[in-house]
Amino acid sequence: MSQIDLTKAAEIAIDYATQQGMDQVEAALHQGVGISITARQQELETVEKHNDAQLVVSVYKDHKTGSASSADMSETGIKSTVDAAMSIARFTGADDCLGLADADLMATDSKSLDLHHPWRADTAEMVDIALACEAAALGVDDRITNSEGASVSSYSGNAVYANSHGFLRSGSGSQHSLSCSVIGTSDKGMQRDYWYDSNRNAAKLQPAETIGKLAAERTLQRLGARQIGSKQASVMFDPIMAKSLISHLIGAIKGGAIYKKASFMLDKVGESVLPDFVTIAENPHKLGGASSSLYDGEGVATPEYRALVESGMLQSYVLGSYAARKLGLVTTANAGGVRNLTVSNTGQDAQRLLAQMGTGLLVTELIGSGINMVTGDYSRGAAGFWVENGELQFPVEEITIAGNLQDMYRNIVAIGNDYDSRGNTECGSIVVEGMTVAGS
């Protein structure tokens, strides 16, 4: 596909909708190229080339809205996308809260956030990286008997957001990842685990061999896993699983869930929802961050830093302009989500956290979707390790852990400094007391 002039396409969309009598209009466009390679059993398995482009237009007329999207960015294509959005806006209902974010909130800063590092490697080099990654995993131990392969993927693209306040910004970004998943066998059956890294800059990815070895070691640790009996227990969530607890909290304070009263965090702003040693902050301008941006999905300037939870106290909801108006509040520049969260820690590394917990369950995998966001009731399938005297005793599987998220947040007793910095949330292990483990 030829390079599309996204800025020009955005201008065509905004101008055309305005000419057609729309009160307001906004357009978000992106295009990018990518490649995904998988090697399995030391052979190249798949090579997929990606080449995507999309235009999303929303129009507003008399407090009614409609939106439409398309990959066709020819002038005719853009205009028919706008036409489709306008056609929908004729039939939707009016709501005074609908519309662009206020003009005086639009971002004015411009500085580089170091987000774009296209990977210069060619296909053959990427294949070699995947092969090396898998080879490292397969070579760790004879009990590694099979593989789901190692994958390299790389994406690089441009995006534009424009609206009829006259705001138009473009940016480029990249994202690369390397992952490996292998299978181990013991007399008790097969187990699988994986490891991965992702970064905007391929040079900063963990070495292929490290990722392969970690995948294999994690798989080996799970061999011989068994159920444990039902009991009350302390649960330590490893950093990857700990992030899921943070993500449920964010989901519960999103404006859409709040104004629909579909959240267990309703009316909790200004209240203590976590222990006083917990602060959760957003860092939208972090250099090279997975979600860094100077403006949100509506063009609103993002802050450099904002505490969502300060010393355990919920500071505010996570709002775009629509939900903010619904609630009589001001947008928190979170249209499109939160950007680069950091969760504070209580100073211990993973080993010391285990020692502090003494007896309990270390959870390294959660499966299933057993979370009721209206009540906070939580029940998920889990796998991990039984811990006694601060030491891992044996791998555990086919159990569930259950509680209520409100209680679980209050019952956090420690957060480790064993940060996992991949992705949008930087967080260490979290220890929660008093959960119910169900098994046999």
Binding site: M1, E43, E45, T46, V47, E48, K49, H50, N51, D52, A53, T65, G66, S67, A68, S69, S70, A71, D72, A84, A85, I88, A89, R90, T92, G93, T123, N146, E148, G189, M190, Q191, R192, Q227, S230, K231, Q232, K260, K261, A262, L266, I367, G368, S369, G370, T375, D377, S379, R380, G381, A383, E397, E398, T400, A402, T436, V437, A438, G439, S440
Partner: protein, 482 residues
């Protein structure tokens, strides 16, 4: 031969950019002219999506999307090269075909095709565009009706969210063995979810359905059923007590609880995992993997169902495939690539999310045949256990065989009687072991209402599930109450 499908597919996908037989043959030649190429295909797709959403009694948003493009694949042994183009011009597709050729590296001199022989299966659904089966005003009215019916049903209803979506897909699949297979696929879905409140306590409930037909399916009666059912579920949850924790007898209701089969056996019987030997079911054909009361099939051939397809995304006719018969593992679900490598037949399970994704073995409608017991008899046989009738999502680790699925409506069974509702508990088990503990299968087979979405490797496809009421003698229930 379905002339109507072929003419629609040509008109939508080839004629606008003037793609001719010689163009298509030349593209296919590029894909097959790669060292060791076993087969190649080109998947042309046009997809139109429209969604309207209501909350606070108002249809506030509507969105409309058109996607089209072609996915090009060349398969050599275990290797697959894939690229796609969102532009259906000859030059753009040829560029993508060159990418595929470059991936395959060395060329060979195979003879090219000159034309593609039209082929199609019996249509399992009408070739209609569901977006056009109702006016925009009528769609808005339908959602407002759902809102009204839910709110007037019970004063404790505080919020109603409803959405109506219609998808119109036209595909044309060209294969390296010279076939061209068209399909025209409508798909609609209506969802109603409510929040109820009583004494400061809030709960949710939801219900929906749909299938491969026009929007007139959503009659006043159907909308009323969804609205009332969503309210009923939410009100039951208001009364729910903590669920017990531990291993116990579990009775699953008919219909949607068939998600059990999707997770506990379905994924583990997909051909790719079994070819690679990564499934807990690998190498076990002919073995007993479930109690003898269990016969489980994957059936893509049921008319108008959400999970059905006249042909799969590789142009093969869908089938009613027996996976487990009287407890014995009979077969896997296969796509073209994995069937070839395993020396087995295709089963019409090659599916893909879109032209921009590679096909792989996926389920269609997966269900268990009816057994001999009355549902009441099954409940009566349980001393202390759980009766679970509605579920949210599920997930499986196909390698260890561990599956979970989360109940959204469940009750205690005490001394053979259904008593109090319990809060959503997650059920967890090991596929091959759990299926062995099925001790009673009911005579009330039901399929779900048509809302299922299955995710695998980041690709979503619509699916169906079903089962009769059944009892498992020992399953772990993830409640909080010890």
């Amino acid at each position: 031969m379905n002339e109507q499908h072929l003419s629609i597919a040509h008109a939508m996908l080839l004629e606008p950019t003037g793609l001719s037989d010689p163009d298509l043959s030349a593209m296919m030649h590029k894909l097959t002219n790669v060292g060791g190429c076993d087969f190649a295909d080109m998947y042309f797709q046009y997809a139109k999506h429209e969604t309207w959403s209501l909350d606070e009694g108002v249809v506030k948003t509507g969105s409309f999307n058109i996607d089209q493009g072609v996915g090009l694949r060349s398969v050599c042994g275990e290797k697959t090269a894939f690229a796609y183009s969102e532009d259906l011009n000859v030059a753009a597709i040829n560029t993508a075909a060159d990418v595929v050729t470059a991936i395959g590296r060395q060329g060979q001199n195979v003879e090219g095709l000159t034309s593609f022989r039209a082929q199609s299966a019996t249509a399992l659904y009408s070739a209609l565009d569901p977006v056009a089966t109702m006016t925009d005003i009528e769609k808005v009215n339908l959602l407002e009706l759902a809102d009204r019916l839910a709110r007037t049903h019970d004063s404790r209803v505080k919020e109603v969210m409803a959405s109506l979506s219609s998808v119109y897909e036209v595909v044309l699949i060209l294969t390296s063995d010279g076939r061209q297979i068209p399909d025209v696929r409508p798909l609609i879905r209506l969802n109603v979810s409510v929040i109820v409140e009583q004494d400061g306590k809030r709960e949710r409930g939801s219900m929906g359905g749909g299938g491969r037909f026009g929007l007139d399916y959503f009659s006043q009666e159907v909308v009323e059923h969804y609205a009332h059912e969503a309210v009923r579920q939410a009100l039951v949850s208001l009364e729910a007590i903590d669920s017990p924790a531990g291993t116990m007898e579990v009775v699953l209701g008919a219909g949607w609880p068939g998600i059990l089969l999707h997770e506990a056996v379905g994924h583990g019987l997909e051909g790719d995992f079994n070819r690679k030997g990564t499934s807990a079911f690998s190498g076990r054909i002919g073995e007993k993997v479930a109690s003898e009361q269990c016969t489980v099939v994957d059936d893509g051939t049921i008319a108008d169902r959400r999970g059905s397809l006249s042909v799969d995304d590789e142009g093969n006719q869908t089938q009613n495939t027996v996976l487990i018969e009287n407890g014995i593992l009979k077969g896997y679900m296969q796509d073209e690539h994995n069937a070839r490598l395993m020396g087995m037949g295709v089963t019409g399970n090659g599916r893909r999310e879109s032209f921009a994704h590679l096909p792989m073995p996926r389920m269609t409608n997966t269900y268990m045949h009816a057994g001999k017991y009355e549902p009441e008899e099954i409940i009566k046989s349980v001393k202390n256990g759980i009766y679970a009738v509605n579920f949210g999502g599920g997930q499986v680790d196909i390698t260890s065989g561990k599956f979970v699925f989360s109940s959204s409506e469940a009750y205690l069974i005490e001394d053979g009687k259904v008593t109090q509702p319990v809060k959503g508990a997650t059920l967890i088990g090991n596929g091959p072991e759990a299926m062995q503990t099925i001790s009673m299968v009911g005579n009330d087979l039901a399929l779900d209402s048509g809302v299922g979405v299955c995710g695998k490797d980041g690709q979503s496809v619509p699916v169906g599930v079903g089962q009769p009421t059944l009892k498992m003698d020992a399953l772990t229930v993830g409640g909080v109450s010890l």
